[in-house]
Every structure is written in C-alpha cells, then in structure tokens.
C-alpha cells in the first residue's frame, strides 16, 4: 500500500514535470530591432501584449531606440542571462546577432524568430520563423500587376543593398513575367529626393504603367510625385506596408493595392507557439509561418483603416 | 662688470603701436633692479622680450655679454632667465610638487618606461621651500590651498632651484596684502644674496624702494632714465612715475568743476 502511494505520488510528480510550468509562471522575452515608438512596431507590440493576455503568460518587449545591431546583441545577451522560458527575436542581421542567438539556443532556451531572418533562422538553431517572405510577397505583387495589364513597371527601392528590399523587387520582376519589363529605381530616404526622382523617371518614360513602392518611405513621396504630374490614378500603383496616407489613397481608388504583412500576427503568433511548446512540446509542422502578403484593396481599405486606428493593422 | 642680462636700444612695435622705443636696460649679478611705470608704460612688453615670448623689433638682447635670440620661452629658460608672471605662474589645481617641476620633471628609467620621479621631487620641494623659510606640510597638497604670498614664493623658489641667473618678477606683490608682500620681499633679498640678478617690476614704489639697488622708469614706451637708490629720493621717483604734472593738472581741473557745480546749485536755489 505504502509503495503504491509512493509510486502514484512519484508518477503524478513526474507527469507534472512532463507538463512543463504553469502558464502563469511562464516568462517570454521578445527582442526586436524596432522600438515600440515606431508605428509599424507598435502594432507588433500590440500583438505581443494581446497574446500575453490571452495565453496568460508574462512577456517583455525589448528593443534599442534606433536601429543598432550591437545594442540589440547586448539586449539578447541580457535576455539570456535572465533565463526566460522562451525567446522571440527578429533577425535583420544574422552576422551581428548570430553569436547571441546561438548562445540562447545553447542554453536550452527555445527561440522563434519573426519579421526578418526567414533565410537564416534555421542555421542558427531557431525553431520557427513567423513573418512574410520578401520574395513571395514581391512575386504576388508582380502577379497582380500582370493581371491588371502592366507591361512596363518600376520598383522604387529606397535602400538598394538591403537584402529584404532587393528580394521584393526581384520577386516583383519575376511575378510580372516575361511579357513585361521592370527596372529598379534606386532612391534615398529623403522624401523630397524620392519625389523628384520618381517624377523624373515618369516624365522621362511616359509609357510606364506600373509602379511598386517598398514601404511608406517610398510610397508617400511617390503619391506626391504622381499627383504633381497629374498621373495619380492613371498608373497601376501598389506598395508594401500601410500608413494613413496609403489607406486614404486606396479608399480614393488611386492605388491598386497595399501589401500588409500583418505584423500583428508577427507579434501574436510566436507567443502562442512558444507557450504551447514550453508546456507540451507542440510546434507547427511548417518551418516558416507566413503572415503575408495580405493584399489591401480599395474595397477592404475602409475596414483596415478602422483596425489601424486600433493598432491592429 | 658684465651685466647678467641686458637690452640694448630695444624697440617693439605691434603694427602701428609703439610699445617700446629705444630702451636700454641691464641687470648685474647680486643686484635688484626695479622697473617702474604706470599701466601701459611697456613694462610687460619688455619682460616678455626678456622671457622669450616676443622678439624685439629693433635692438639686441645680451646674456652675460653675448648676443642672444630667443625663439620661445624655453630658450630664455635655458639661458638662465626665469620669469615669474603676475597671475599666470602656478596652477591652483596641481600639487606643489607638480607645479614646482612643470616642464622640468625629473625622470627615472629609459625611453617609454621613464616615469616622473615623484619621491625625489617631493623631497626636493620640501627642502627648497624650507631653505627659503617656508614649511610645506604636504607637498602633494594643491597649490590652490596656499595663500597668495606662499604661491609666489613657490614660483620664485622654483626659479632659483632651476639655476636661474636672472629672476624677473612681474608685479609679484600687487595682489598681496602688506604682510604677504613682506614675505615675498624678504625672499627677493635672499635671492639677491645668492648672487642672482633680480628685475622687479611694479607700479608700487613703496614695495620697490626697500629692496631695490637701481630704478628704471618707463613712461609710454620710453625710458625716463636709470637711477641708483642713493641718487634720487623716493618722493621724486613717485612723482616722476605718477606724472606729477598730470596729477597737478588733474587736481586743478577737479577743483574747477567743484566750484562750478557749487555755483550752479546756489543759482538754482535762489530762483
């Protein structure tokens, strides 16, 4: 009898351990390269916070104030020292962050990446990646424009050399297909400069009928440029990411689509996956969980505006 | 005897300004030569020429009878001319020891590994200052904690220690009270007794008179002459220096305005 009791107690004890810690005790740290003051990343953080509330776990969100890879590596090191149950990171620069991420994995901390790093995460020992892959998103955009009959297009790239952006233009080109010609318009990040460059390109070649921007930094000056030369609404115009001006332009019908990578999901899903992994060892089958491209069109723009005001898109 | 240092017919121009014109000035060993003059007389300029800060526009400098040219204060120092400036001699934030040896720090070791020999330096500072009658309790204390007179003495002791042959003191007592001025004056006498030639610049005759052997008067860049102590009474020097004529004219003018003012007041009170 005593032995049976002891055995049952041990079994229950063992089972409890096999179940992992209770949700209330789980602590997850998110280290991203975008500070929550940035409008894009504040949506991610909202996703993180909501997931923490829904799952009943505690989550901290850390990021350097500006894009600063060495600082981010230090934050990851500090996160490892705090011994959380799980770690979520974005990987904009595998060279700079690789050592710290590998150290986390070596310490036995499960790591999921989000937003950037879809092509490097596996090599670092990261379990899964939640985000939008650039090439596929660009490809989707190219396909849409081809369906709209675009034959000559430009891809406005404000940071040539940024691998992610380059991949978007590359995908776009391939998506448009053989029948169309595309070129990359390389610009800087100064809005006035971008506007002038776009105006010049469009004036030099009036046959251009498709324009793709890679984000608000490129899209907003392009809107101004199109307006100024009176061709707003006459070219097939699409962009990556959302902003209030982009949504307005969509609602007015002057834009064909905006690609929403749905960054809310990039904040929300990793928390869910990690919690279930920490407790039960469950993990989705596919290595990359795509959160985009979500195409926002003039028809759906209104609803998106309302969600954007709530910090969800 | 050959003067220790001598300026022969020296002039200095700054653009169109004539700071000094045709000055001849010499100091002999074991002598205190006082350089007098009101503000703007050119005393500082002459001193800067001797200490290597300026080069004369005309004339020559001689040290022990040989003609010299100074390209920097370092050259003057190397020639044995030590200058103690009015305000800019010691560093209040540094210790006595470090101040004493600034620019001439004793070192031990070789090449890259040579270091400032602070032990030797501190010992030397204590000794030198006590020779001049000042007990430095702690040579590593900041000079800023010392009184004005003591600071001047540190500067002078430094000059004497480093083998100065000629000591040029630019207004050493001007910022000091009577008692502290006395400390410095006594020190000057001791330096003279050790054979140094001392140039003592001041516009205060009362400080100068007791210790000086000779006086030279500068007025607006020109020399009014050189006199030995016995030759001219103190009052005469004072009057030459302050410009007795100008003073009397000023007195008359002031008296005149006072009378005028009184007359105006009387007139307005009547009406």
């Amino acid at each position: 009898m005593k032995r049976l009791l002891l055995f049952s107690a041990l079994l229950a004890f063992g089972l409890a351990f096999a179940q992992g810690p209770a949700r209330a005790d789980i602590r997850i740290i998110v280290v991203s390269h975008g500070s929550a003051a940035d409008p894009f990343w504040s949506v991610v953080k909202n996703g993180v916070d909501q997931a923490a509330a829904d799952m009943g776990v505690s989550v901290e969100y850390l990021a350097p104030e500006i894009f600063d890879m060495p600082r981010m590596a230090h934050l990851i090191d500090a996160a490892i020292a705090a011994r959380p149950h799980g770690l979520v990171v974005s990987i904009p620069d595998a060279d700079a962050l690789g050592r710290s991420i590998r150290a986390a994995v070596a310490e036995g901390i499960p790591v999921i990446s989000m937003n950037s790093g879809s092509d490097v995460f596996q090599g670092l020992g990261v379990l899964r990646h939640v985000g939008q892959t650039e090439y596929e998103a660009g490809f989707g955009a190219g396909q849409r424009m081809a369906a709209a009959g675009v034959t000559i297009a430009i891809c406005v790239n404000q940071e040539v050399g940024n691998v992610a952006l380059d991949l978007r233009c590359q995908g776009f080109q391939d998506g448009l297909g053989e029948g169309a010609s595309t070129s990359v318009l390389a610009v800087g990040t100064d809005p006035v400069e971008v506007r002038s460059a776009v105006m010049a390109a469009l004036s030099a070649n009036p046959d251009i009928d498709g324009v793709l921007a890679l984000g608000p930094l490129g899209a907003e000056p392009t809107i101004a440029a199109l307006e100024q030369i009176g061709r707003l609404g006459q070219v097939v115009f699409g962009t990556f990411d959302l902003s209030p001006l982009i949504l307005e332009t969509l609602v007015a019908g002057n834009m064909a689509f905006a690609i929403d990578q749905q960054q809310y999901l990039q904040g929300y899903l990793p928390i869910v996956f990690l919690t279930l992994y920490i407790q039960y060892g469950l993990l989705p089958g596919s290595e990359v969980i795509l959160t985009g491209p979500g195409f926002v069109t003039p028809e759906t723009a209104a609803q998106v505006i309302e969600l954007a005001a709530r910090g969800i898109r | 005897m050959t003067p220790l240092i001598e300026a022969r017919r020296v002039s200095k121009y700054f653009g169109s300004v004539i700071a000094l014109k045709d000055i001849s000035f010499a100091v002999n060993p074991a002598e205190v030569h006082c350089l007098l003059g009101d503000n703007g007389a050119g005393k500082s300029t002459l001193i800067k020429i001797f200490s290597g800060v300026h080069k004369p526009s005309e004339g020559t400098l001689l040290v022990e009878g040989h003609e010299v040219v100074f390209n920097s204060p370092r050259d003057a120092l190397d020639a044995g001319i030590a200058t103690v400036h009015q305000h800019l001699s010691v560093q209040p934030l540094m210790s006595v020891t470090r101040n004493f040896f600034t620019g001439r720090e004793p070192t031990k070791g070789w090449g890259l590994f040579s270091y400032f020999d602070l032990t030797f330096a501190e010992k030397t500072v204590r000794e030198e200052m006590s020779k001049m009658g000042i007990d430095i309790r702690d040579p590593s204390q900041a000079v800023g904690t010392m009184s004005g007179g003591e600071r001047q003495c540190v500067a002078i002791a430094r000059a004497v220690y480093f083998g100065a042959k000629a000591l040029i003191l630019d207004e050493p007592t001007s910022a000091l009270g009577v008692k502290q001025a006395g400390v410095v004056l006594r020190y000057i006498v001791q330096a003279k007794a050790r054979g140094l030639g001392v140039v003592f610049i001041t516009h205060n005759v009362h400080h100068a008179y007791p210790v000086a052997d000779r006086f030279t008067l500068l007025k607006r860049g020109r020399s009014l002459g050189t006199f030995a102590k016995g030759e001219v009474p103190r009052e005469a020097i004072l009057s030459m220096m302050a410009g007795q004529e100008e003073l009397e004219a000023l007195e008359a003018e002031l008296a005149e305005s006072a009378r005028h003012g009184a007359a105006l007041a009387a007139a307005s009170s009547r009406s």
Partner: protein, 344 residues
C-alpha cells in the same frame, strides 16, 4: 619665518594626510557611486540575472566598450579640450576597415592598421585646428563630427551603393591582428581586457610620467604651462590622436563582433564618454581629473544600462536615471574638489 622642528609635525601630518588624501582624490565619487549602484542592482535584480555569470559579462562588456573611450576622453578633458567627433570617428573607422576588406580585398590586418593610421590623421587635424585657430575645441570637433559622418555616408554610398557593409566574419578567420580584437579569453570578451589595459596605461601616463604632468598643466592653465616650457601644442595634438585611436579600437571591436560596418554607428558615444568622464571626477574646465574615475564612470553606465532591464523597470526610464546620476556626480565632485583646493 623660522623653520619648525620637523619630526613631530611630520608624523602627525602623515596620519591625517592619508585620510585627507583619499577624500581629495578625484575618483572617489565615482568609486562610491559604482559601489552603490552595484549594491542597488544586486539587491533588486541579483536573482533575476544581474549577478548571474552571463549577466555580469553582459554589463561588463557594455562598460568595457564605453570605458575604452572614456579613459582617452578623460585625458583629453584634463588637458582642457573636448572631442565631439568620436562617434563619427567610430563609424568612419569601421567603414575604412569594412570597405578595404570587402570591396578592395585587403587582408584584415592591413585594413585595421589603415584604420589606425586614419585615426592618427584625424586626431592630428583636430589638434592642429584647435592650436592654429584658437577656437574652442567644442566647435572644432563639432565641425569634424559632421564632416566625418557626412564623408563616411558619402564615400560609403559612392563606393558600395548602400549604408551597411557586411561579410567581415569570414575574412577575420585566422587573421593575426583580428584575433586580438575578437573572441573571448577565459570566458571574458576581449573588449574587457582592452578596457583594463587602457585604463592602466592611461593612469600610468597621467600620474607617473612627465607627459602626464604636462597634461595637467596644459589643461589647468596653458599660458603658465607654456611659460614653464611645456610644449602645449604638441600635448594637445597627442591627446586628440589618443581619442581618435580609442574610437578606432572601439570600432574594430564592434565591427569584428557584428561582422559588418554601418554608417550610423557610434552616434552619441562622444556624449556618453564625456558623461562617464565627468562622473569620474574630471572637471569640464580642465586641469583636474582621473582616468580611473572615468573607468568607474563607464562601469556605472554599463551596470545601469543593462541592469535596468533585469529589474523589470521599463528601459525608457534609463535616460532619467542617467541624467539624475550625472547631476549628483557633478555635485559630489565639486564638493570634493572644493575641499581639495580651497585655501585653508
């Protein structure tokens, strides 16, 4: 004035002297501050990672990187000058290394040596301009802050078409010089050893050499120093070269750790270095200060910047803490200096 009998006064003076000497040391405020900050974070966050071996390495590493800059800056500030171009120098030096290796195919050691030669040039320019123009170093180095940063961005865009140059990790493999600037030794990152070595070197130069005395004199009163025969202009140039070299050491460490150079790196580092130096007891007006103090100032900085995270307090409050700490440090240091230099 009679000479008092020596033996009795000497012995009494010696005892009081030691206590007074300690109290009047410029680094006292920073050492006490560091102890207090360490105690605070150990109490509040010790078990949350601050005292774990990983945690300690994380804040030591941040302190080390800043400390490398701070000790050089402290020497310069004691010598009476500011260098606001350090941050831009960090980006520039990093880019010199990266572009030489990645674009022009230079071996890593050659690129690193080139960066140091460049540092010598920049330091010389800073010093020469300050000497020649008589302008405050604040202005001269501020101008260089912009010139260097702009040139870095301009040349990098011109040569590579982008603002970041990656791909350095493979080139650093097996390179004899890169080896000195990367990796760990006995579990501690190499930056910590650089920090300690530079602190010792700077302190030795400042307190035990002739040149150190010249630094104090040049910063306290350059006229008096010049009159005493100190080569004030040469001292300044050497000090500016010192800060540029420190920035290059920082840049090399950072570039080899991150595997890339970025035109935006190093921003605001000049101010962090000045803060650490001032916390460490150096006067803004020059002539007084301590390299050890600057190192402790950097230590406080690192402990706070990483430590705040361990306490769970929102890291946004870090800057509030920094400002308050700076004020307290300066007030404490002013009191100490007052005690040390006022006439008794």
């Amino acid at each position: 004035m009679a000479t008092r009998a020596k033996p009795i006064t000497d012995e009494r003076v010696r005892k009081v002297g030691i206590v007074n000497k300690l109290l009047s040391r410029p680094e006292l405020g920073a050492v006490v501050g560091a102890i207090l900050v360490f105690a605070f974070f150990s109490l509040v966050a010790g078990d949350r990672g601050f005292l774990s071996s990983r945690g300690i390495v994380s804040w030591l590493e941040v302190s080390a990187q800043l400390g490398i800059l701070a000790v050089a800056v402290s020497l310069l500030m004691i010598g009476g000058q500011f260098d606001l171009s350090i941050g831009s120098m960090i980006a520039a030096a990093g880019m010199v290394i990266a572009i030489s290796v990645v674009v022009y195919g230079w071996p890593m050691w050659a690129a690193i040596l080139l960066a140091f030669a460049f540092a010598g040039l920049v330091g010389f320019i800073n010093g020469y301009l300050v000497n020649r123009t008589g302008l405050p170093s604040f202005i001269v180095t501020l101008a260089l802050l912009f010139v260097l940063r702009g040139a870095t961005i301009g040349f990098t865009r011109l040569i590579t078409g982008r603002t970041q140059v990656p791909g350095l990790h493979p080139q650093a493999e097996g390179d004899w010089l890169a080896f000195l600037f990367s990796g760990t030794l006995f579990g501690l990152p190499v930056s910590i050893y650089w920090w300690l070595a530079l602190t010792i070197l700077a302190t030795w130069i400042l307190l035990r050499t002739r040149f150190g005395n010249w630094i104090f004199a040049t910063g306290g009163d350059p006229e008096a120093a010049r009159n005493a025969g100190v080569p004030v202009q040469r001292v300044r140039i050497i000090l500016f070269i010192g800060t540029a070299v420190a920035a290059t050491i920082f840049a090399t460490l950072q570039v080899l750790a991150a595997g890339s150079a970025d035109v935006a790196r190093g921003r605001l580092k000049e101010f962090e270095a000045i803060i650490a130096t001032v916390i460490g007891g150096t006067l803004l007006t020059g002539g007084y200060g301590s390299a050890i103090g600057a190192t402790f100032g950097a230590l406080i900085f690192g402990m706070v910047q990483q430590g705040i995270f361990f306490t769970g307090v929102n890291t946004d409050w870090f800057q509030v803490f920094l400002g308050v700490m700076l004020l307290i440090a300066v007030l404490v240091n002013r009191y100490i200096r007052h005690r040390a230099t006022v006439a008794k």
